[in-house]
Symmetry: C2
């Protein structure tokens, strides 16, 4: 079995549940049929298993070091990245006119997911590069596209996103990096950036930094932030990387996980000029960043999901093979020990993981499909799709980050003491996964985004569309005897969401309205995942009725739906009840009281 992908489940989600072939029947992804996608997945799986998975533990144990102003990388990292590019995968999601393969976001995310599962620390380099290239394609000049983005798409150069500064982590309005015009469309950048993933190394001929900075006359706050392209090496006339551009690596952060991805403090313009070029319009830098935010945030949720998946598959195999203990009631100590999976509490931990991971994966794919629809790959109303995606984005970023981390915890627990050692990958996955709740907007910030902004956009149309789609599933499931109870429960759950939303939106004082925004986010996510489980169970019933073989697979889908509805969903009622009641316990407890000791 593979640890990095469950191809049967992937086929189930992509083709049986979401009908990807129909979505790809016309439009920009026309012709990307099941066979083509399967071949691509085969190729990617082979590379990920050969070049990524085997080095994950080593890279974690011996991460890049900071020497003489650069990050020294083990040679196998560049080799793995080359294998990815050489297979054409760095170009997979870009349009054909810029040298890409033109694959849908859904397929590309799915392909990349196997690399995230196998070795997220290496995969990050190409994920960040692709995100930066996509931003250049959307907002850059033709020259920027041809001189920079094309090399990134080909996998020859890499890219970073430079947002945070020491005094401005989550609060981007406080960044102070300066960009002074020096004529001919050039700027000199000056400032310090922290938490910059993927910089500082020499694995590629060049690194293209996308940097948020302020023009001299920029207004204060977020309305005065512009986006700049700052190459690690300046290009000569022929577009070849030459002179050093004085982007200095000051140091590497030592992280709990994802340790093979450099995490840099970079100085711009300290040891000489760092020349940069404006991307898009002045003072519109955040707009450009936010344009890419949905995909980036889906990406984080998907990475969290894939860490969860790998932990699940690994602990499942361990539970199948490791003999330990006897069934309750078996008093004969001479009887053979049984596999862990025979113990009910081990099965509970497997079901908990399966519920989180396969639920989260369904959500990630659903959101990726919406991205493709938004990009023209469907016949729907694009404004509606955009609003729906706005509502789902904080959820797909956050729910997997919380619950697939929890899944990793259970994977470790199944292995017991062994799971706490580096002899097995589960403790590393748990460490890797912990980051996902923090970057690309923390859990708390996603909560405020959802309840403070997204459910209010377009007079609540995004949420209304979501509820409409959930109700459609409920309507179908209500006619299936085995699922009608869950359908009724999900109807109740929708009321928890709508009541809580109404209460929060009716409260004029924003601090009170948002006092429980994080709970709202998490619990609404649980209701959404409940929907996707009901949907999966419904498809499973349909497949069983259609005479599908491998009945156990579909039975397990239904059992996991049962698990989710019985063990997980009810907890959302409590959290949404607190939102609904506008509970102000956390708001009215003062800093002075908490500090008192």
């Amino acid at each position: 079995m593979s640890y990095i992908v469950d191809r049967h489940n992937l086929d189930f989600l992509l083709f049986d549940m979401f009908d990807l072939e129909k979505a790809h029947a016309s439009g920009p992804f026309e012709g990307q049929d099941r066979e083509l996608i399967s071949q691509l997945l085969d190729t990617a799986q082979r590379i990920a298993e050969a070049e990524y998975l085997p080095t994950a533990a080593t890279l974690d144990a011996v991460p890049p070091t900071f020497e003489n102003g650069e990050a020294v990388m083990p040679a196998y990292v560049a080799r793995a990245l080359n294998a990815y590019s050489e297979a054409g995968l760095s170009a997979q999601s870009f349009p054909e006119e810029v040298g890409g393969l033109g694959m849908s976001h859904t397929v590309s995310m799915t392909v990349n997911g196997m690399f995230s599962a196998a070795n997220v620390a290496i995969a990050n380099y190409f994920l960040l590069t692709a995100a930066a290239a996509r931003l250049l394609l959307a907002f850059g000049t033709e020259e920027q596209k041809s001189r920079y983005a094309s090399h990134m798409i080909a996998g020859r150069w890499m890219g970073t996103m430079c947002l945070s500064e020491p005094q401005a982590g989550s609060s981007l309005s406080d960044i102070t990096t300066r960009a002074d015009p020096v004529g001919e469309g050039s700027y000199h950048l000056r400032g310090t950036k922290i938490w910059i993933s993927g910089g500082g190394h020499r694995m590629s001929e060049n690194i293209v930094h996308l940097v948020l900075a302020r023009l001299p006359d920029a207004p204060a706050g977020v309305k005065g932030i512009s986006l700049f392209l700052v190459p690690q090496k300046r290009l000569d006339e022929a577009g070849r990387p030459g002179e050093d551009n004085n982007v200095t690596l000051v140091g590497l952060a030592h992280k709990m996980g994802q340790r093979g991805t450099t995490n840099c403090q970079l100085n711009f313009g300290e040891d000489g000029a760092s020349v940069g070029y404006l991307i898009g319009k002045p003072n519109q830098g955040l707009h450009a960043m936010f344009h890419m935010m949905n995909e980036a945030r889906i990406g984080v949720g998907h990475i969290a999901t894939m860490s969860g998946l790998m932990g699940y598959l690994y602990s499942l195999e361990y539970a199948n093979e490791r003999l330990q203990g006897r069934r309750i009631g078996q008093k004969n100590p001479g009887s053979p020990q049984i596999p862990l999976i025979e113990h009910v509490d081990i099965r509970r931990m497997l079901l908990a993981q399966k519920a989180a991971v396969e639920g989260a994966l369904a959500l990630c794919i659903y959101c990726a499909l919406l991205v493709d629809e938004q990009n023209g790959g469907g016949e729907s109303d694009h404004a509606d799709v955009a609003l729906l995606l706005e509502v789902l984005t904080p959820i797909v970023k956050s729910w997997p980050s919380e619950h697939c981390l929890e899944a990793n915890k259970w994977a470790m627990q199944i292995l017991g003491g062994a799971g706490y050692t580096s002899d097995h990958p589960v403790e590393r996955l748990y460490r890797d996964n912990r980051l996902n709740h923090i970057y690309e907007g923390t859990f708390g910030i996603q909560g405020i985004d959802l309840l403070g902004r997204k459910v209010r956009l377009g007079e609540g149309r995004g949420l209304a569309l979501l509820i409409q789609r959930i109700k459609a599933t409920i309507g179908e499931a209500a006619h299936i005897p085995a699922l009608s109870g869950h359908a009724a429960k999900l109807t109740d759950a929708l009321a928890w969401v709508t009541d809580a939303t109404a209460a929060a939106l009716a409260e004029p004082e924003m601090e009170r309205s948002l006092a429980n925004a994080t709970l709202y986010l998490d619990a609404t996510g649980t209701v959404v995942i409940g929907w996707l489980w009901l949907w999966q169970a419904m498809v499973a019933v349909r497949m069983e009725e259609g005479g599908a073989t491998n009945r156990a697979f579909y039975e397990a889908k239904r059992a996991t739906c049962d698990y989710f509805f019985r063990y997980q969903l009810p907890h959302a009622q409590i959290d949404l009840g607190l939102v609904n009641a506008l509970d102000v316990t956390c708001l009215t407890t003062t800093p002075e009281q908490i500090r008192a000791a």
Copy 2:
């Protein structure tokens, strides 16, 4: 402020809530008054802050290495352990007749907790040694006490507990290490032990291993396990460590946390005879181990609590000092940034930590007081105290391991990206704490212990006693207007517990009865912690009414009680409802279904 102890809270719990002075007014701990205890705490805090806290990060980053058959330890580890012994602390909890200070378990645990918070990896060495010495005092011969235990109590020698084997982790009945009698009360031990904490080093003149093994004629299973004393070095006539006893270090496990504590695979009798001596009676080894189990399990819960506490105190200070963002609704980007603690979601994460940590600490101290009562330090019915402690033991082991780990997660989250790096201790605490759910009986095993055994002992008298005590608190709190609502809620919660218990006990088929034992454990723990919060709030009200200064401290106690009753306690109803309903989702989902892919 200190990161390793909140002395004000400790005083509140020990003296205002649990009235330790009254408990120590007569009996074996007579004369251990508040002043004496405070002085001991002062001394311990000074040593822990000077010798333990500063090296915690370094020891984690550069843990012991395996070289030439031994674990090479940094010199500061032995220095720290010496400082502890030299202050007399290794002897604190032992009776005066064996050279101890005769302090109560409650005080000793509290003292040791500061070391656990500061540097659990070093503290483990003396905690394990004390546990081993206590076992020798309880079951050893006079000769074993004088030749071995006395040196351990003085802190000159160390000790380990050797239980697990490669084929027998949680399932002790399957151990195969052999002990063959060779005359004169000696045995030759032969076998492999894994996960042995604290062995393999040369920091002390000798290491006393307590080893579970089988006599040649032993019955199969747990009834055929005996306990042996196997020194690292054999003693000469004068009792001095001399000849090597062939206990060989095969390797060290690389752990996610607690990395400074060696985790050894030890071979006995492979390179020559490993001579050992029977402790207690033949085939009674597990009985002896279980005799110490309550204290060991309270100890694990307390270590989990102290990791949680350190994370809480650290993230609280960070939240007070770190400026980031502005209040919701503050649109002026030129206004100064505010401390993190001004954001409501940060306060939620602080309250969540405070609720878990101070609730868990109250439970640990409560259980330690019961140990002291059981050991004769009170006037209660010892059989009743023992039964009550049996019920609380799996809870005090597990609830902190789960919820103070969660607290560590929130501590990291408050620090954001910084919390994910080794620049701050919170990520280490999170890694350290993860172990506590695994060793000394996993979460799942504690669940089976509670629902399968402990609540059935003495016809349920242990649980009845617990409920009786909870009801007494409810009765008092019901008369306090600010708390009467919580008192009513806790009455409901007791019904959730009793109903779930009755349903599980009425089910004759044990696998069904215990299908949700882990949920039962966790949720019953939440109800118990709810009780201890109501009690704390009641004491706070009393202190406020009594005119205590520092009102904010007591207000925060009440606010945290509110938080727990509103945000945490209701979730227990769902889990106990599943127990009550004898939900068999996890039982009826077959291994074949889960495996199907």
